[in-house]
């Protein structure tokens, strides 16, 4: 019993770091722009598909797949920014939400038609068989997600707190008008925010497809669902919140699946989300004021 709980806890933390990355992507964008990007999941899914192109063309090594995925995600991200954000003026927070829903539909359909809605095999460079650490079995791709999560968040925090761009992003996040007066180009920061979160989408797409074993259209819905929940659970716009939210959701799901079964896993997850929000209306680590 204790061993089982521990084993599922380890799995939950590893898989939860994928959730944290997804939530992180949603959170950075929301934090800086105060807008929802519902097309983020579709960007991740499309990036995973595109990263397969060099593999199918000339058996490219996996780092080239990751780079292709990153490049594709950034291009799609810029397209989303151009179509759904750039021309919608301030004061219309809900318009990009609806526009990106349109984008979600359009991107998904583009992929569905290019592939006849078939999932495509996505090889794992980390090996298929679990490592044996004592009595525990640890999936190498999950371990890689954990490492990638630590790396990505370290890089993001360095970027936000040690670079000029990071300072500009935080300035725009906190007081956009003031930032503009101080000479920060909000437009430029917005575009760079999209580049950053889309690059992250490329990484997420790679690890999501590796962990499932194939690139599939429904990755978009999976990522959107988990991302929104993690973002809100942790607290809107709070990056540490996204990390905590992702890990909490991961651990919770694994324990619930083991002890209660998959049928009650999601009910329990949403009940806990609901209760947390009622008692902490700004999420686990959300700011008291906005």
């Amino acid at each position: 019993m204790f061993f089982d709980a521990a084993e599922q806890f380890i799995n939950g933390v590893m898989y939860g770091s994928l959730y944290a990355l997804i939530g992180g992507g949603f959170t950075i964008l929301f934090g800086v722009m105060r807008r929802f990007n519902m097309a983020y999941g579709a960007t991740i899914m499309a990036a995973a598909y595109v990263s397969l192109v060099p593999l199918y063309l000339f058996r490219a090594p996996f780092w080239l797949m990751v780079l292709t995925g990153l490049a594709a995600a950034i291009l799609i991200g810029l397209l989303v920014e151009f179509c759904c954000f750039r021309f919608i003026k301030k004061g219309h927070e809900l318009a990009p939400l609806v526009a990106t829903i349109g984008m979600l539909i359009a991107i998904t359909e583009a992929i569905v038609h290019a592939t006849d809605a078939a999932g495509l095999k996505y090889p794992s460079p980390f090996g298929d068989e679990s490592l044996e650490l004592g009595r525990f079995l640890v999936r190498p791709d999950y371990l890689a997600v954990l490492v990638a999560g630590v790396l990505c968040f370290t890089l993001i925090f360095l970027l936000l707190y040690k670079t000029r761009l990071g300072r500009a992003m935080r300035a725009v996040a906190e007081r956009p008008e003031a930032a503009q007066i101080l000479g920060v180009s909000v437009q430029r920061v917005n575009v760079l925010t999209f580049v950053l979160t889309s690059a992250l989408a490329g990484v997420i797409g790679f690890f999501a497809a590796v962990s499932v074993g194939s690139a599939r259209p429904d990755i978009a819905a999976f990522v959107t669902g988990k991302g929104l929940v993690v973002m809100v659970l942790g607290g809107l716009g709070s990056l540490p919140g996204a990390i905590v939210g992702g890990l909490v959701l991961g651990v919770l799901e694994f324990q619930a699946t083991w002890f209660l079964g998959a049928s009650y896993r999601d009910i329990l997850a949403f009940l806990i989300l609901f209760v947390i929000l009622v008692f902490r209306p700004r999420g686990l680590l959300g700011a008291r004021t906005t």
Binding site: S130, V212, T257, S263
Partner: protein, 413 residues
């Protein structure tokens, strides 16, 4: 003026709705319309497009051979496919479009059982009773497999797999041929009607009936789940001889990946019926190696091979357990049309549909692509208007489906 552009775009788009259907063409124009309702967009499009391709291939063959004889005149078949995106509301509109705008004689499809439920539910239940205002459109289904759908309306016939018979056969086969495999473990998708029904309505009753195997573990997940670590750990501890994975490709592949990583190696793995197609081979060919699945189609004879090649070449359509029936259904109905004495005019459409329906109800046994198919009569106690047909077991070997077991009479082909 730019402000108006948005409104104009919308107005234009809505105006498209009012575009009338294509000019109605019937006997006097030398055509006869047939329809199909499939998921041609969205996540289930792989199956929808395959069935559309095979149905269209049959139409091509018939037209190339001169067409169908109606009232002493050769007319060409025209195919009117409608997309339901595997969405019930779109299906409910599409069925009326087929019935009253496209004015088709009969429809193939639908792809998803969740669309078939409301669509068949709105068809007439009491045949010819004016008090029952359900739609009068003949369906001859190729894909939607959920047990009992044909009972919803006398206008529904299906050429789909009979899963209780299939799993009954598998359990009996195992008991007789592999008596050393005694323990069984099962996984199924608790939120997917087809998968849940295959476990509760087909496999579990079969295991109980034959009373030989011992079920040591049953786990479930959702069909779009990406992570099955906890469930597979349970399967690993159960360590049964035979594993029934009643899962569709979406959850089958990640669960097999998890099995490999946890080194769970049952002696034999059986998949769900819908698995025996190309989809799983695109998703996880190596992981699926060795998986056995029941099916009604495999390219085991010259004709079947030719159909599979041609449909792929012409329409990139996968010939599988669900799509080949679309081909068979079109050919069967073509024969019935010639016998039914249709007038093939717009005004007599309802009578024409009824005539073909009544003939279809009495068709009995007919020739399918790989063997004989028996369409059960309307008074069949268990599965009226559903088929009994040859079943075989196929196995993934080197990323291809190969025959694992076939009834002796099929092998001679």
């Amino acid at each position: 003026m730019r402000r108006m552009t948005g409104l104009q775009v919308i107005a234009l788009a809505v105006a498209l709705l009012l575009v009338p259907a294509w000019a109605v063409a019937f006997q006097n124009e030398g055509t006869l319309r047939i329809g199909g309702m499939w998921a041609l967009s969205g996540g289930a499009a792989f199956f929808g497009k395959a069935a559309l391709g095979l149905g269209t291939l049959a139409v091509d063959e018939i037209n190339e051979a001169g067409g169908v004889t109606v009232g002493g005149k050769k007319v060409k078949l025209t195919m009117h496919p409608q997309d339901d995106a595997c969405n019930a509301e779109q299906g409910l509109a599409a069925v009326r479009r087929l019935a009253t705008v496209d004015k088709v004689l009969f429809s193939l499809g639908p792809t998803c059982s969740s669309v078939a439920e409301p669509v068949f539910g709105t068809l007439q239940k009491k045949l010819g009773d004016a008090g029952d205002t359900g739609l009068q459109l003949l369906f001859f289904t190729d894909t939607a497999t959920k047990f009992g759908l044909a009972k919803l309306s006398p206008w529904v016939f299906r050429n789909t797999p009979d899963e209780p018979a299939m799993y009954d056969f598998i359990v009996k086969y195992l008991k007789e041929n592999r008596p050393e495999l005694k323990t069984v473990m099962v996984s199924y998708e608790s939120d997917f009607a087809h998968s849940a029904a295959t476990w509760k309505g087909a496999l579990e009753p079969a295991l109980k009936k034959h009373g030989y195997h011992q079920v040591v573990e049953v786990v479930d997940w959702k069909w779009l789940d990406t992570e099955m670590g906890a469930q597979v750990t349970k399967l690993r501890r159960a360590n049964a001889d035979v594993y029934f994975a009643l899962a569709h490709t979406t959850s089958m592949c990640p669960s097999l990946k998890e099995m490999k990583s946890q080194r769970v190696k049952p002696k034999l793995i059986f998949g769900i019926t819908s698995l025996a197609g190309t989809e799983v081979l695109l998703n996880c060919p190596d992981l699926a190696e060795g998986v056995v699945s029941p099916t009604n189609f495999a390219p085991i004879n010259a004709r079947a091979k030719q159909i599979a090649d041609k449909s792929w070449e012409k329409y990139k359509a996968d010939s599988n357990i669900h799509s080949v029936p679309a081909y068979e259904n079109v050919h069967l109905i073509k024969g019935l049309i010639e016998k039914a004495g249709l007038t093939n005019t717009e005004d007599t459409l309802l009578q024409d549909r009824r005539k073909v329906r009544d003939l279809l109800a009495k068709v009995g046994t007919f020739q399918g692509v790989i063997g004989k198919i028996t369409l059960n009569p309307e008074d069949h106690p268990v599965k009226p208007r559903d088929v009994d047909k040859d079943m075989l077991l196929v196995q993934v070997k080197s990323a291809k489906w190969t025959v694992f077991w076939a009834p002796p009479h099929l092998k001679q082909n």
